[in-house]
């Protein structure tokens, strides 16, 4: 039960934090059409996050009813029931289970695009498997979201190619983005303890099943974009976001996102 809740929160947190990051572009995109596109992806991701949070809240409330202690409360110290909003707005950094990749700063358009591409490729294969999960609710959310993610993947792939094979400047910018972000891709495929547990129960996706597909997708698009993988050597050790060990960025995201709920607690908005 706890593993299912944690896993659901992990899926939700990934979608919310990347959606939040993308929404920072709204009104500031490089061209109107792309401003709309990136905002659209933000909306899709926040929509997915809401589905997952609502489910997690239901699970938490049910398990509290049965007398078990809720694992990642979100309701703790708040009183009352967990909701999508207590989970998003009242948990602190250590309780968030998103990957480090999604909380990285937007940087320039190249970094934003590449972050989206890495993540959408991951989400695409993940949801393809998740739609066959033993857990019917997760399966249904994955199935419903897959259409969106397919578009996100196509859109971000096209942009990676465009930037890689565009001008000298765009090529060097996306190369820099690869250097900056590559180090965060390992974590996507390193299962956290709750993932292992949930995988054993047939709920979560076995990450080893999707890693090769992901890598092949990246390789194909990188080829088309005339990009190469950076070397692994000398890359810094990174912590693990899924276990609540985040980069410093997440604290600022939450400070901003949670401001109203923290400053005016227990109000209805």
């Amino acid at each position: 039960m706890n593993a299912l809740i944690d896993y659901t929160l992990h899926l939700a947190d990934n979608a919310l934090i990347l959606g939040h990051r993308n929404s920072e572009w709204t009104g500031h995109g490089p061209i109107l059409e792309q401003d709309i596109a990136i905002s659209n992806i933000a909306l899709d991701l926040i929509g997915q996050a809401r589905n997952f949070y609502q489910y997690a809240a239901r699970l938490i409330n049910d398990s509290t009813l049965q007398g078990a202690k809720a694992p990642s409360p979100g309701g703790e110290g708040v009183g009352g029931e967990a909701t999508e909003d207590t989970l998003a707005y009242l948990r602190d950094v250590k309780d968030f289970k998103n990957c480090l990749l999604v909380e990285q700063t937007n940087g320039d358009w190249a970094k934003t695009i590449l972050r989206q591409f890495f993540f959408s490729a991951y989400q695409f294969y993940l949801y393809q498997h998740l739609q066959h999960s033993k857990d019917e609710t997760l399966a249904a959310i994955a199935e419903k979201s897959l259409k969106e993610v397919t578009y996100h993947l196509r859109w971000s792939s096209e942009w990676v190619v465009r930037l890689g094979d565009g001008t000298e400047e765009s090529n060097s910018r996306i190369k820099k983005a690869v250097d900056d972000l590559w180090v965060y891709t390992d974590e996507l495929f390193e299962a956290a303890s709750f993932e292992l547990l949930a995988t054993n129960e047939g709920i979560a996706v076995d990450l080893s099943l999707i890693k090769n597909n992901w890598l092949k997708k990246i390789t194909d698009i990188f080829d088309e974009a005339t990009l190469r993988f950076p070397s692994r050597e000398g890359q810094a050790v990174r912590w693990n976001g899924k276990d609540g060990k985040h980069s410093e960025h997440l604290g600022y995201i939450l400070a901003e996102m949670q401001f109203l709920q923290r400053a005016y607690p227990n109000n209805y908005w």
């Binding site: 919310l16 009104g27 709309i36 659209n40 465009r162 565009g166 109000n267 209805y268």
Partner: protein, 315 residues
């Protein structure tokens, strides 16, 4: 002789309420007026994204966050329709953007006010989108076809925005004391700038008369303003809040609300670039455009490369 004929055809069409289309002959001044008005309108949509985008990352619930993103995105869409409508008059989007960035083209002054609290999202939806609708519904019958058609699509979405904004305020007005105060404070700050959105009084409005004759405009600034005030004075009662105008009072004789003196000096000041956020808004637009230059260049270069590869493949 030719010209006289064309002038007559144009005038007849206007008389008979037949839309003028891009390929039709039109007086130079008609074209210029439309370019000025439509591009100004498009710029307002785009600059207008900024004060609301300012609260996306701080929206208080996930539902509010999603709705706000969608709303700001709608405004981007409005900008797109309007730039396209203006382009039918032989001016490019690039040229229009240049005029915006250089300060030559104007946009609605309302967006030069800051958004300070969450309640501003409600006040903007209710009052600013509300005033925009009042202005824009008659434009759905504008004599220029592409503009009229763009306005029909836009107005549908704007009325949705207005309801959302009102609902934000309604929720706050039923909330805690602090929330209620937040709502009242937002209305206090947005009310006067909103009623200035209808432009100067009729006797001080330089372009109005000709625009009415060409059926670009259907009602005068003062007529629309009065209509808006009459509506809002009633709606604010539902919120249990007040409009910040001591002279606001129902007049049995005119069947309209009387209202206080508008501070036209503030209006002129903001129009002329001295509002609280003129500088920030324009800088944000220029920055987005300049930071995006390499992205647009890359997209153009790539599509060129592709085209020439395809041509080679064919040959």
């Amino acid at each position: 002789m030719q010209i006289i004929n064309e002038e007559k055809i144009f005038a007849d069409k206007i008389d008979e309420e037949i839309k003028i289309e891009p390929k039709d002959w039109m007086p130079d001044q008609y074209r210029k007026t439309l370019i000025r008005q439509i591009s100004q309108h498009a710029h307002s949509e785009i600059v207008g994204m900024l004060p609301e985008a300012n609260w996306i990352t701080r929206a208080p619930t996930l539902r509010r966050k999603a709705t706000l993103i969608a709303k700001v995105q709608d405004e981007a869409g409005h900008g797109l329709y309007l730039y396209s409508a203006a382009e039918t008059l032989n001016i490019s989007r690039d040229e229009m953007l240049k005029q915006l960035h250089s300060g030559k083209a104007k946009y609605s002054s309302i967006f030069n006010y800051p958004t300070l609290t969450w309640a501003d999202m409600g006040a903007i939806g209710w009052l600013v989108d509300g005033a925009a609708i009042m202005n824009q519904v008659p434009l759905c019958r504008c004599s220029y076809g592409p503009y009229a058609r763009a306005m029909i699509r836009i107005c549908k979405e704007e009325s949705f925005h207005q309801r959302q904004g009102f609902e934000i305020l309604l929720t706050l007005s039923k909330g805690s004391k602090a929330q209620k105060q937040m709502a009242q404070d937002a209305i206090n700050r947005w009310w006067w700038p909103s009623i200035m959105m209808f432009g100067p009084n009729d006797d001080a409005s330089p372009h109005s008369k000709q625009s009415m004759e060409w059926k670009i405009k259907r009602f005068s600034n003062d007529e629309l303003r009065q209509k808006f005030i009459d509506v809002c004075a009633e709606q604010v009662k539902i919120l249990g809040l007040v409009l910040p105008d001591e002279k606001l009072k129902w007049n049995e004789e005119t069947k309209h609300y009387d209202f206080g003196e508008i501070n036209w000096e503030e209006f002129r000041n903001v129009v002329n670039g001295n509002g609280p956020c003129n500088k920030e808004r324009l800088e944000a637009r220029v920055k987005a455009h300049e930071d995006g230059a390499w992205v647009r260049d890359a997209a153009a270069a790539y599509s060129e490369k592709r085209k020439s590869r395809e041509q080679k493949a064919v040959a």
